[in-house]
């Protein structure tokens, strides 16, 4: 109940109009109030007619999240493979230290990065642009990719790539043709987590973009400002939350198969 309550409330609110929100608290359509489609209509109207343009932020969000996730996964997977298979030594730095360096980037409070990024991006003219955001998101997402993939590769038997090497593959072929196909579940889980954490970020999107480029969360929160149109707010919130619910199903599937199990150790 506690889980779904806010969703039900939002769903119910999204069909209200000015009257039914502001007079008294109402719950059930037709019984308590007369439902209206006002909240959903503004989503598809053009901004000039008083609508809320949610399509463009939607695509911006998808673009930034996916690009940053893909880059993080590719680079993170390569690094994770190296960390899991080879030994590195440089002074007192060992494999574990490098892994820890990657993962520890999650400790970094966003606010610490935001100020230098703000100044840095405005200097090179990437403030308020998609590319700037992608760069920042890579920092957020790569640690997750490395964390999950190192663990995953540790559980893929080494004999697998050794056999491939004996069979005459060079290391790149061994990785690409033998190890990668066997790591698809790991890649999917890592990808899901990257997408989740990319999609739900608000802070950087809020600070580093203004008008030219707006991501979905920023757009929805902006609705919250002066006169709060609860109905369109609820509708747009539901729309923006929806896609990731599919992700929940995928994660659950891999969880049941036991593919997430070692991710913590």
């Amino acid at each position: 109940m506690f889980v779904v309550a806010p969703f039900l409330w939002a769903l119910s609110t999204s069909f209200k109009d000015f009257q039914s929100v502001n007079s008294k608290v109402t719950y059930i359509p037709w019984v308590d109030y007369e439902p209206s489609l006002e909240g959903w209509k503004v989503l598809i109207k053009s901004p000039a007619k008083g609508g809320v343009d949610i399509v463009e932020p939607y695509f911006n969000s998808i673009f930034v999240t996916c690009t940053a996730s893909v880059i993080s996964i590719v680079l993170g997977t390569l690094a994770a493979y190296a960390l899991s298979r080879f030994t590195f030594k440089a002074g007192f730095v060992r494999n574990n230290d490098i892994t820890f360096f990657f993962i520890s980037q999650r400790i970094m409070p966003p606010i610490v990065l935001s100020i230098p990024f703000f100044i840095f991006l405005s200097t090179i003219g990437l403030l308020d642009s998609l590319i700037g955001l992608v760069v920042v998101y890579i920092v957020l997402l790569m640690p997750i990719a490395v964390w999950i993939m190192v663990d995953f590769f540790n559980r893929v038997p080494k004999e697998l790539d050794e056999t491939a090497l004996i069979d005459g593959c060079n290391p790149y072929q061994a990785f690409y043709k033998v190890v990668l196909p066997n790591s698809i579940p790991g890649l999917i889980v890592a990808g899901m987590f990257c997408i989740i954490f990319g999609w739900i970020d608000f802070f950087f999107a809020f600070i580093l973009t203004f008008t030219e480029v707006q991501l979905l969360p920023v757009k929805v929160v902006a609705l919250n400002s002066s006169v709060t149109p609860w109905w369109s707010l609820s509708a747009s919130a539901l729309v923006s939350v929806a896609p990731l619910i599919i992700v929940a199903f995928i994660v659950e599937r891999y969880l049941s198969k036991g593919n997430l199990s070692g991710a913590l150790k």
């Binding site: 608290v25 298979r85 935001s114 920092v139 994660v251 659950e252 913590l264």
Partner: protein, 287 residues
């Protein structure tokens, strides 16, 4: 296996990350010794003036920091308790197991700020459903405008949002446990409670530590929720360190001082999280 190709795998990722991060960090440190603000937007050098100001003349920062510690520790403890019980519940074979699992995961997939916007209407003092229902019992707490209850509201929202993550990590852990100890316990005729205390919990200790630390790291960044729900208010009742730094830096444009704050904050964070990790490991493993 060891050969020159290993660097080809490692370096792209490592260098991209370092490349993106090195500038901001050095810049923050340098900035923290400058008086960059909206009147003098330049990189002058004013020595440790900012640090002196922080340590002698800024109780607001320290208050916000203790508030943050309080909020994150409370939410993480609650998340651990709730998350663990939910995970135990769906670990066994109960009806609609998969349905419940997906259900408990959903809040994590939703964008915190957007849900917070919904929560705000949810807790609205005169038009929200919470007070409407509580009103039938004759009480109507001021969820957002009273310093004490505003903290509770933030905690509720945070717990709702992030318990699923805890749940996910713990359930994944539970599913990976070996079966033998449980069989042994069953043969000995242990009660469910004893089984939990003597078998499940000790086996889960390392995973619990991992999950708690990960959540503490994430919780220490509480920002979105506070920003939308209360904007740090009423007064400074729910203001956390991040939010305070945000106000100083990007609202009042005291960049230099904000850099000092954020660098100090980062150092405190790293030290305290390391200590917490060490202490937790000792405590849990011993038990």
């Amino acid at each position: 296996m060891n050969f020159k190709h290993k660097f080809v795998f490692l370096f792209p990722g490592l260098f991209v990350l370092i490349g993106i991060l090195i500038f901001p960090i050095i810049f923050t440190i340098r900035l923290s010794f400058s008086g960059w603000n909206s009147y003098t937007p330049e990189m002058n050098f004013i020595g440790i003036t900012n640090y002196i100001r922080l340590f002698t003349d800024d109780p607001r920062f320290w208050e916000s920091f203790f508030r943050l510690s309080f909020l994150s520790v409370t939410t993480v403890i609650l998340q651990y308790i709730i998350g663990f019980s939910l995970a135990l519940m769906v670990w066994r074979d109960i009806k609609f197991k998969r349905f419940f699992r997906v259900m408990f995961l959903i809040p994590m997939m939703t964008t915190p700020v957007i849900m917070t916007v919904i929560w705000r209407t949810f807790f609205h003092e005169s038009l929200g459903p919470v007070n409407d229902l509580l009103g039938t019992f004759g009480i109507g707490p001021k969820w957002l405008s009273d310093p004490a209850t505003a903290k509770i509201t933030v905690i509720i929202v945070e717990v709702w949002q992030w318990t699923p993550f805890m749940f996910l990590l713990l359930l994944a852990g539970l599913l990976s446990l070996p079966k033998e100890p449980f069989l042994a316990a069953a043969i000995d005729g242990a009660s469910a409670f004893r089984k939990f205390v003597f078998v499940t919990f000790p086996l889960m200790a390392p995973i619990s530590i991992g999950a708690i630390i990960i959540r503490l790291i994430e919780a220490s960044k509480i920002m979105d929720t506070v920003f939308v729900l209360t904007s740090g208010g009423p007064g400074t009742a729910t203001e956390t360190s991040s939010f305070y730094i945000y106000i100083k830096g990007l609202r009042e444009f005291q960049m230099g001082y904000a850099a000092t704050l954020s660098f100090t904050y980062l150092v405190i964070m790293i030290i305290s999280l390391t200590i917490i990790a060490k202490v937790l490991t000792k405590l849990m493993i011993k038990e």
